[in-house]
Structure formats: structure tokens, C-alpha cells
Amino acid sequence: MDDSLILVRAVHFVSTLLVSGVVLFLIFVAEPAFRKSGGDTHLPTIVRRRLAYSAWIGLTFVLISGAAWLLIATARMNDIPFAEVFSNAAVWTVLTQTDFGYDWVTRLFLAILLAAALLPVHSTRGIASKWKGLIAVSFAAGLVATLAWAGHAAAGTGFARTFHLIADGLHLIAAAAWIGALVPLAGLLAAAEHRVEESSITIAREAVLRFSTLGIVSVVTLMTTGIINTLMLVGSVTVLIGTDYGRLLLAKVVLFLVMLAIASVNRLLLTPHIIRAQSSEPLRQLRINSLIEATIGALILIIVSVLGTLPPGIQEQTAG
């Protein structure tokens, strides 16, 4: 059952971060960039439609994988085979009497609220009001941050538990703002590459600059909260290199640094080109780099899916 749990978690993490990333990208990068287009609605309409579809497909996967995760978790908690999960109101007990269950219900509500907040995206005006945009962002951020409640941070006590949950929640939002937003960025760049209007290049440039800023804030947040989480879950170099948990965490950090290297190339080499150049060639290169980054990000999320099923390394250190 371990493998199916890891698979379901991986699908859930990837789809959740993708949906949240799409929303964060839409409100903080795309819509502000569209406002610089001087009234042209061709590219904005195409991009909004793509983002809306991505969000809806993503939400579908979030709901299906979330349901599967609940069923598998219920089976494991009760130590019963998966087939027996529907008897004895086992799922109801989990939903109404455990942290995992409360978290699950909360996130279901957030997903529904987010779906409602995304309905206007289909129209040509998109999410026109700034307030509606921030509401959508709040639901998206909430949907991804509450994943922390289903993780190791939830098992702590007192102040340390609250502190850990907050750090982990911020870590998740930052991850969504970076890994999750890379895919819609690639989508916007792909749409801009094939258009002939000057305004499309303007939109693409503006989007790249804004994404860059979002990316820097995300990276700083990821590193800070990542260090906090590592101190609380691993605690020492001995545990870091001496346990499976620690070594997986190291692999995650290495992949993070690879993503950072690619992002640096994008920021320091490609972005200035995009600002200056007239052709769409640097846009194409940036799109490819972004997709490579996103793939590495997905690998990180798979590692995270495994980590959550293991006892944190610090536990093995104190065991007899």
C-alpha cells in the first residue's frame, strides 16, 4: 500500500501546486502584464482561456487524488485492506475525528471556493476586479498551504507545532508560486511566440519581468522555511547523511539548486535579451528552460511524496 499512497500523494501535490501556481501567475503576473498591452485583447483572451482550462483540469485531478488519498489513509490508519474501507463508517471517523480528516474537509471547501472564484476567468475581461483576484489568490494559497496540516508538522506540540505549520505552509505557497507558475509561464510564452502584434511581445516581456520578481521572493522564502523545516525534522548532519529520510532531503536540496541554476540563467542571460530583442527566439529558449525547470520541480514533488510517508530522520537519531 505504500506505493499507491506515494503515487496518490504525488499526483495530489503536483496538481495542487499546478492549480495554485496558475492562479498566482494569473493574478500577479498575467493580468498586470495584460494591462500593459494598450487595449489589445488577442493574446490576453488566448492566455486566459488556457489558464482557465489548466486550472479546471488541475482541480479535477486535485479532487480525484484527494479522494483516493483519503481512502488509502483510512485503510492504513485502521490497518485494514483497502476493500474494507467503506464498511464500519471508517472514512466518517477519519473525517470527523482526526487532524487529517479536518484538513481534508477544509481543503475540499477551499477547492470548491476556488472553483467558484475562477468562473469569471473564461470571460474576455477575465477577473477584472483587483479584489476578486485577491480572493482567488487567497483560496489558492489556502488550498496549497493547508497541505502542511496533513504532514509531519501536525504531529508536534505547543508553540513548536504552530511555528512548524506556518513555516511549512509558507514553504508550500512559495513552491506553488515558483514550480506551479512555471507551467503557465511557458504557456503564455508559447502563445506570444506565434503572434505578430507588437503588444504580444510587450506582454511577454512584462510577464517575464514580473515572474522574475515572484521567483526571487519564492526562492528566498523556500530557502528560509526549508532551513527551518530541516532543523526541525532532521536536526543534524549525522541524521542528514545517515538516514533514508535525510538522504532524500539532500536529493531534494540538490534538485532545488539545479532549478536555481537554470532560473539564474533565465534571469541573468535570457531576460535582458527578451527586453532588448525584437525576435521571439529568446522567448522560445525561456519557454524550454521553464519546462525543464518545471520537470525538475515535479521530481522534487515526488521526493516530497515519499518523505511524508517516512518517519523524520530526527526520530531515528533519538531511538534506542
Binding site: 490508519m77 482526526t98 487529517f100 496533513a150 501536525a154 504531529a155 506540540t157 508553540f159 526520530q315
Partner: protein
Amino acid sequence: MRNNRRITGAIVAALILLSENVAFAHAQLRRAVPAPAAIVGTAPSEVLLNFSESLEASFSSVVVRDSVGKRVDTADAHLDTGDRTTMRVSLTPLVPGIYIVEWRVLTADTHRAEGAFIFRVGQ
């Protein structure tokens, strides 16, 4: 210079504070009363178990049996209100002898753990 020392002191204090409460997956039995392998003169009225992590009440239980396997607890195992790391179960009056405590818990992050230990009442 003085500022650096103050900041370092604050960070160290924070880390110490955090490490007091830090408790992670796969619960470990931190403390038990009666303690594992203890010999107690008077029969205890309850068994107290304190774990390294927050537990889920609905999925955590403890059973106490005597040396022939008969249950001697009152089946009222419960977590302390306000402290999800401590579980207690009341006992029927115990005669001198060896008793075994069997615990099974689920941590708040859905990991299961179980264990057992014995204690003795009397000389």
C-alpha cells in the same frame, strides 16, 4: 559586536525552546507511570503514557493485562484534555504480580506505532 551576541543568544534560546517541544512522526514512548520494568509497592490506580508526538484519540488505545492474559484495565483509555501526547487508562484494583501494558497509537500525521512493557506490583 554586542548586537551580534544578542542575536546569537536569541537564536540559541529559540532553538532550545523549539527543541523542548519538538516531537516527530512514529511516536515514541517518552515516559510511563508505572515505568517500564518498574516494581511498585502499592497498586497504581491508572497507567499513564506520555509520547513524543500528538496522538489521535479515536485511533489510540492501551490495554493492561495480568500474567495470565486477563484484562485489568477499565477500558476507559483516553487522552488528557489539552495534552494530546498523554494517554491514561484506569485500572481495577491490582494484586501483587506482573502486568503487561500494550499500547497502540496513531500520531496526528497518520503514522501508527505500538509497543508493550511490563511492570510489577509488590516485592
